[in-house]
């Protein structure tokens, strides 16, 4: 979809959504207020231990910082007491001071690479771009590559080939056959960095195909053999 078409859809959608009710029915608001009056909140002495409502979801085993520190402190004391009881002739063990819990902002979701904008070279001067959207948090960089420089990458008819750089499993190279059209694609990488989906407009016609290469560098190995790469061309 071109930028102009996207802008037109945005404008139409924005205008359409602007219409509609913008005032809450009084009876709903009054009912909620009546609820709070008839259900006064009881004081909660353990409120400081409860998680922030805006904290990112954690595993069921995750502990709040204050509670975790208290538990860790008790464990250290127990260990020291046991060690002191079983080794009376040795020098006393110095227990490191417990870190004082300080008021910190509740943990927020780690920022990931929102989108890396990659401009692919085109001999005909067409504007070909790919926005790389990474959910794995492991993507370090994304750049355009030239097939002549990147060496052997398996070609997959009507799809995407994937291969690691020689002797470097943290670098993954994707290649696909494209037409001589301007396009703006989106390459989505899933949280496990195993599924790579490239969504781009289709380029039809009888022209010879053009090989596109994008080179992704990760903070950890991403074996090409474990990757599923999909090309989704939209009409």
């Amino acid at each position: 979809m071109t930028d102009r078409a996207m802008t037109d859809l945005d404008r139409v959608l924005g205008d359409w959504l602007a219409d509609g009710p913008s005032r809450a029915p009084d009876r709903v608001v009054d009912a909620a207020i009546e609820h709070c009056r008839s259900h006064p909140r009881r004081p909660d002495p353990f409120a400081f231990l409860r998680s922030d409502v805006l904290a990112a979801r954690r595993s069921a085993l995750a502990l709040q910082p204050a509670f975790a520190l208290v538990a860790l402190g008790l464990l250290l004391v127990a260990i020291v007491a046991f060690a002191a009881g079983s080794r009376r002739d040795e020098a006393p063990v110095v227990v490191p001071p417990l870190p004082t819990p300080s008021a910190t902002r509740p943990p927020t979701p780690s920022p990931t690479v929102a989108a890396v904008h990659v401009v692919l070279p085109d001999e005909l001067g067409k504007t070909v771009t790919v926005d790389v959207v990474d959910e794995s948090g492991a993507l370090v960089s994304a750049r355009a590559g030239l097939q002549s420089e990147e060496g052997d990458i398996p070609e997959v008819p009507h799809g995407i080939g994937a291969a690691n750089a020689p002797n470097d499993p943290t670098v993954l190279r994707l290649t696909w056959a494209d037409g001589p059209c301007e396009s703006a694609g989106v390459l989505s990488i899933d949280a496990a960095a195993r599924s790579f989906v490239l969504v781009k407009p289709a380029c039809t016609g009888d022209s010879l195909g053009v090989g596109r290469v994008i080179v992704l560098t990760f903070s950890r190995p991403v074996p090409a053999t474990g990757v599923t790469a999909t090309l989704d061309e939209t009409p």
Partner: protein, 183 residues
């Protein structure tokens, strides 16, 4: 002023909560309605959200983030209502639904607001929510990520797919304007 109301409501002051409710209900209801496209479902979502705010407000550590939290609650309530009601559920598009004759640069005119309504209803509640947060509430990608508690990359990806799904739904509806182009 809102922060003061949030602080007092968190301490259990019912009148502060009443004032906070009157201050925020309109925009929360507006968001719920635009996601659900149904007055009664939106009212249920709003009521559930307001009760949750009353019950859980003491657990909001940063009271300056009340708006983000309230938006998160209303979106979750709206999505839950949509799933429960199964009205206007998204209709999965079959591969042949999109018009194959439209090229990459072509986009059909949406002259009929009913067409947009039908197309929007074909989206999942989650897709509708993200479009509403961006195009109605005016939130940036980072703000949407903060509101929904998901990474910004995920927001960008979902927004892309929601927009693409809406475009496909409009094409599948099959009622283009004669000239075939947006003004």
């Amino acid at each position: 002023m809102q922060r003061e109301l949030v602080e007092r409501a968190a301490r259990g002051e019912t009148e502060a909560f009443a004032a906070l409710t009157r201050l925020t209900s309109d925009r929360l209801y507006a968001i719920a309605y635009r996601i659900l496209r149904d007055q009664y479902l939106a009212e249920d979502a709003l009521q559930q959200t307001l009760i949750t705010i009353w019950n859980e407000l003491p657990r909001l550590r940063d009271q300056d983030r009340f708006d983000a939290w309230a938006y998160r609650l209303i979106v979750r309530a709206a999505v839950a209502e949509a799933r429960r009601e199964r009205r206007g559920a998204a209709v999965p598009l079959l591969p042949g639904d999109a018009d194959p004759s439209s090229g990459a640069d072509d986009y059909r005119v949406v002259a009929d607001r009913d067409q947009l309504e039908r197309g929007f209803r074909r989206l999942t509640p989650e897709q509708r929510a993200i479009l509403v947060l961006q195009h109605y509430a005016g939130l940036s990608l980072a703000e949407i990520a903060d509101t929904l508690g998901i990474p910004a990359g995920t927001v960008a990806s979902r927004l892309h797919y929601a927009t693409r799904a809406l475009r496909a739904a409009l094409e599948a509806d099959g009622r283009a304007a004669p000239n075939g182009r947006l003004a």
